[in-house]
Amino acid sequence: MSTDEHNSSIDPNEKQVNKVNETNEIIALPGDERDVLISRVIDGAASAQDWATFRGVAAHDPSIWSELGETQSLHESVSMSVADELGFVDQIELPGGAMDDQPLRARLDLVSRWGGWAAAAAILLVWFFGSPMLNRQSDLSDGDQANLIPNFGSSNPMLDKARPDQAFGQYIAAGQQSGQVVGEMPEQIVIETRPMPDGTIEVLYLRQIIERQIIDHAYREMRDETGKIFPVPVRANPIIEKSY
């Protein structure tokens, strides 16, 4: 029992360390070969010769049994964790439809221009209205664009006259009424503070608004190995209402 990697990294005479008894039965193995033998037994890959070697070694060194048990237990534990991690795998199918992502690119551009918080977020959720995006040929209509762009309309005479905090309040109130704005996060994150010549302190801070959109399809923006951006569908499992 030997391996190419094994032989390449150990003393070539190490095989002579194998101890044999008077009937030429192996009764002790060097470290790597002992580990390989244990692994073969665990993996169901042991030959009749391997089993004979194992029995020979175990007869003179019963600790190999506990080593086998310990390694087996570790292997099972890692296998269970891996099985847990990969539990979702069978649900990942190849994406269907044509793979032309040009319509998506137009939407990504739009979102990066108008998305505000969404564009600042590390993971970009791109939303689409109506039909599946990958086969859709038309670009966004004006109406769709209006849906994407927050209604900060400067043509509104009420807002034109409002102070920024009043306009902001109106935006929150109108947004909550329409369902587009969920609310503002209570914590404001201070980015920078600096003293001003007049003794006051200028504070730059982040206000976080949570907005809401109902979408048909969501995609994450990912990059392939060449750095090219492309969409990856986000799988959404519909919520099934339970009846009791």
Binding site: D35, S81, P95
Partner: protein
């Protein structure tokens, strides 16, 4: 699904544009692809996202595979590149976000894997984390062997290594895993006794 049943004709058909063959190929390969991603991905990256990226790449680029025999190594390369690219992106994103919100100043003590481990009371998670800390050359075959359908021979085909090398790496990987865990136990015992001494004083 058993991957070992992949025939060259299915791969050939998939390369030639047969959608059904490509689906079959994917269904037979996605489990080991996920295991490759698991071995290579950064800790904080979502495995499901990565697998979807690979699925997308398979669709887009299957026609570039030159011959059926190259399919497995091609697919593994895509998986590794996807995991690495996502890792670079994640660390870039993390750095820029930290800089932006000033978390570095607010919370200078970063959480190390050891801290996470010490908080983790679940033994199986501890073992899993130890397996994930193995050098990649050992981690990959050890994780692949956790899939029932992956024999030494099959792992060798995916990793393009001789079967004997695979079994040595798996055996050594398991040995290393035991040593890592023993070392952690030893460190834990030492710090417990130090705390006990501190408590007496």
């Amino acid at each position: 699904m058993h991957e070992q049943g992949i025939s060259e004709s299915i791969i050939e058909s998939a390369i030639g544009g047969d959608r059904d063959a490509l689906n079959t190929l994917w269904q037979q390969s996605r489990r080991w692809v996920a295991a490759i991603l698991l071995a290579h991905k950064p800790r904080e990256t979502d495995l499901e996202d990565l697998l979807q990226v690979v699925a997308m790449q398979v669709c887009r680029k299957i026609s570039t595979v030159r011959e059926p025999k190259a399919f497995k190594s091609w697919l593994r390369t895509i998986a590794i590149n996807t995991a690495r690219e996502e890792g670079r992106k994640t660390s870039r994103r993390k750095r820029s976000m930290l800089k932006f919100v000033g978390i570095e100043q607010m919370n200078p003590k970063s959480v190390s894997p050891v801290d996470v481990l010490s908080e983790d009371s679940d033994e199986s998670k501890r073992i899993y984390q130890a397996a994930m800390s193995l050098p990649i050359g050992y981690r990959e075959p050890v994780l692949l062997r956790c899939l029932r359908s992956m024999s030494y021979q099959h792992i060798g085909e995916v990793l393009e290594l001789p079967e004997t090398t695979i079994e040595t790496r798996i055996a050594r990987g398991r040995r290393m895993l035991k040593e890592i865990l023993k070392q952690q136990d030893h460190q834990h015992d030492e710090s417990s006794s130090l705390r006990a001494i501190g408590g007496v004083r």
